[in-house]
Amino acid sequence: MGKQTWKERIPAFASVLGLLVLIAAYYIVGAVRDANVAYGLKAIVNQSVVVALVATGAVFIYTLGSFDISLGAATGVSALLGAMAYNATGSLVIMFLVCVGVAVVLGFINSSLASVFNLPIFVTTVAMMSVLSAFMLILIGWNGAGDTVKVKARDVRPLDNIPFKVFILVSYIALCWFIFTLLPTGREAKFIGGSPVCARLSGINEKKLGIIASLISAVGIGLGAFLTIIYAPTLTKDTASSIGMDVIIAIVFGGMPVSGGPRSRILSAVVGAFSMGFMTQIMSMLNLGSGYGQMIKAAIFLLVVFIALGSQRGKLLTR
């Protein structure tokens, strides 16, 4: 195999280029609109970190060519149970362990159902999303304190700072990068995503890998749930409900193919999540109406994906 030319390498960096363009646009719009861009950067980190965490873990699932739409509901349930555990014990450590533990259990149930019974993972996660959303409502009812589950803000405030969040994010990315790049797990996952039949014939255990991917992703969900409580300790039935869709958009924005395979990259999720953060800030500064704002957001989304896809288009229609 020959060396890649710079033209061939461009698609790999298109998403980073997209992020740089968005950062430039953010500064330009910020200057014209007389915005507090320095504060905005802090806001972007706060707003993107949970999506970045969950999306980073989800890269493992997407790499396999699978698709999980229950990520938001799983984050919500983990956060609710974590908050309830904190209120019962007053321990942040227990809250952390419950958040991660619940997410891991849910991930295990999801992947086991799919693996043991040969279910299509997307449909399993559709069912799981429905069950978890209903369960959130039931949990809030059990909690018996109106329409929310609250942790006292002052109890979690010491952890609500950028260095702590960045530390958690970087640690998790490092762990995922290690597993994805340096261990056979990552290579095998890419192989399955790229060519499931060949991977199976080569002796790769698809079911085992599916469960491992779900468990790694679940750790990200648990961390995301923990940071959700730290950031905004009043939880409702809608907490984290948008994360499922945000993760899909972040992964695509980050330049990763939704079909998974060898072109999957761990950093796609982070690049995508922060691209979304910058775009949200730009849209907010432009102060467009709800309808027109959403239309422009959709157009920019499709445009960025179109540019980021680069030369990946083939003769046949993409499926």
Binding site: L113, F117, N118, L119, P120, V123, T124, V126, A127, M128, M129, S130, V131, S133, A134, F135, L137, I138, S242, M245, I248, I249, V252, P257, V258, S259, G289, S290, G291, Y292, G293, Q294, M295, I296, K297, A298, A299, F301, L302, V305, F306, L309, R313, G314, K315, L316, L317, T318, R319
Partner: protein, 326 residues
């Protein structure tokens, strides 16, 4: 090999809806409730059959070709919004408003398909973008107010059992005709089963994909109109608030797939929708809480899929037991 009899196929096709009805009637009996108690119950049932059948067709047309579509709800919402507004301005009757909704929705589907074939972005991603775009359009078009036709007795008068049956029957007939008895349908099936070979043999994939998106859109136009006529209003949704409708179509699609072994698959989908409509009616008659509904529906989906994906193992274990007994 002995050819399976028509009667046996018919019986097996009706197995799921009949079993669902039987189970629900038993529960109803235990609860002291009648499933079909008055005209409202029948109306609910036939409306659900129409909505679920059409939505499942709309989803499966593209999903069978590997094209996932999150924008179905937004197409339904935007087409009903525009058609409803036109109906208000020009005092269109129900059938003309329905026709307008269908044409607009087909156009929206075509635009969606156009963006897909032009950009070659993966269909699931295009559908996310289009869902956002159409939700934004509907909001901008009405200033967020949506459409209120609650005083239009002619429009809300459309919500009749006869009209629901007519619309469902027409949709099933057209879809069967289009996908099973035309060149378009033959090309579609060829592309579903072998995209590369089909394209290399000269089938025009782009045209077929555009057609599929247009038909899928048109079906969602009918669903949008039925919803608007039922409540007399069309509410707005933003930030993917419209995608929920898609999830109602999975179970009937899989049931349709199973029934499709014994009868035309499109009719199988309709029978799957009949089963779902019975369940919806039962939820209403038993006054089931929304959270319980969600959990039961999800469990049914998972259980059916478990059976579907492990059918051979389950049946061979069952047969082995029978053999041991005999």
């Amino acid at each position: 090999m002995k050819k399976p009899s028509l009667f046996r196929n018919l019986l097996l096709s009706l197995l799921i809806p009949c079993a669902v009805l039987l189970v629900l009637e038993i529960i109803a009996l235990a609860k002291g409730v009648r499933l079909f108690v008055n005209a409202d119950s029948w109306k609910l049932f036939f409306r659900a059959v129409a909505n679920v059948t059409l939505t499942t067709f709309a989803l499966s047309i593209n999903l069978d070709s590997g094209r996932f579509d999150f924008s179905l709800g937004s197409v339904s919402m935007l087409s009903a919004t525009i058609a409803g507004t036109l109906s208000q301005q020009w005092q269109l009757g129900p059938w003309l408003t329905l026709a307008a909704a269908v044409c607009i929705a087909a156009g929206l589907g075509l635009i969606h398909g156009g963006v897909y074939v032009l950009t070659r972005i993966p269909p699931i991603i295009v559908s996310l973008g289009m869902a956002l775009f159409y939700e934004g359009c509907a909001f901008a078009f009405t200033g967020g107010k949506g459409v209120s036709l609650v005083t239009r007795t002619d429009i809300i008068g459309f919500s009749q059992i006869g009209n629901y049956i007519l619309v469902t029957a027409a949709a099933v007939a057209l879809i069967v005709l289009l996908f099973d008895y035309t060149r378009f349908g033959a090309n579609y099936r060829a592309l579903v089963s072998g995209q590369k070979i089909a394209v290399e043999t000269g089938i025009r994939e782009v045209g077929n994909a555009l057609g599929c998106y247009a038909v899928s859109g048109a079906l969602m136009g009918v669903v949008g109109f039925i919803g608007m006529a039922n409540t007399g209003s069309q509410q707005m949704a933003l930030n993917f608030g419209s995608i929920g409708i898609m999830f109602t179509a999975f179970l009937p699609m899989f049931i349709g797939g199973w029934i499709g072994r014994y009868i035309n698959r499109r009719i199988g989908i309709m029978l799957g929708a009949v089963s779902m409509a019975l369940i919806s009616l039962a939820y209403a008659r038993f006054d089931t809480a929304s959270s319980v509904q969600s959990i039961v529906s999800a469990l049914l989906l998972v259980l059916f899929l478990i059976y579907l994906n492990n059918e051979f193992a389950i049946l061979s274990r069952f047969r082995r037991k029978q053999e041991v007994k005999s």
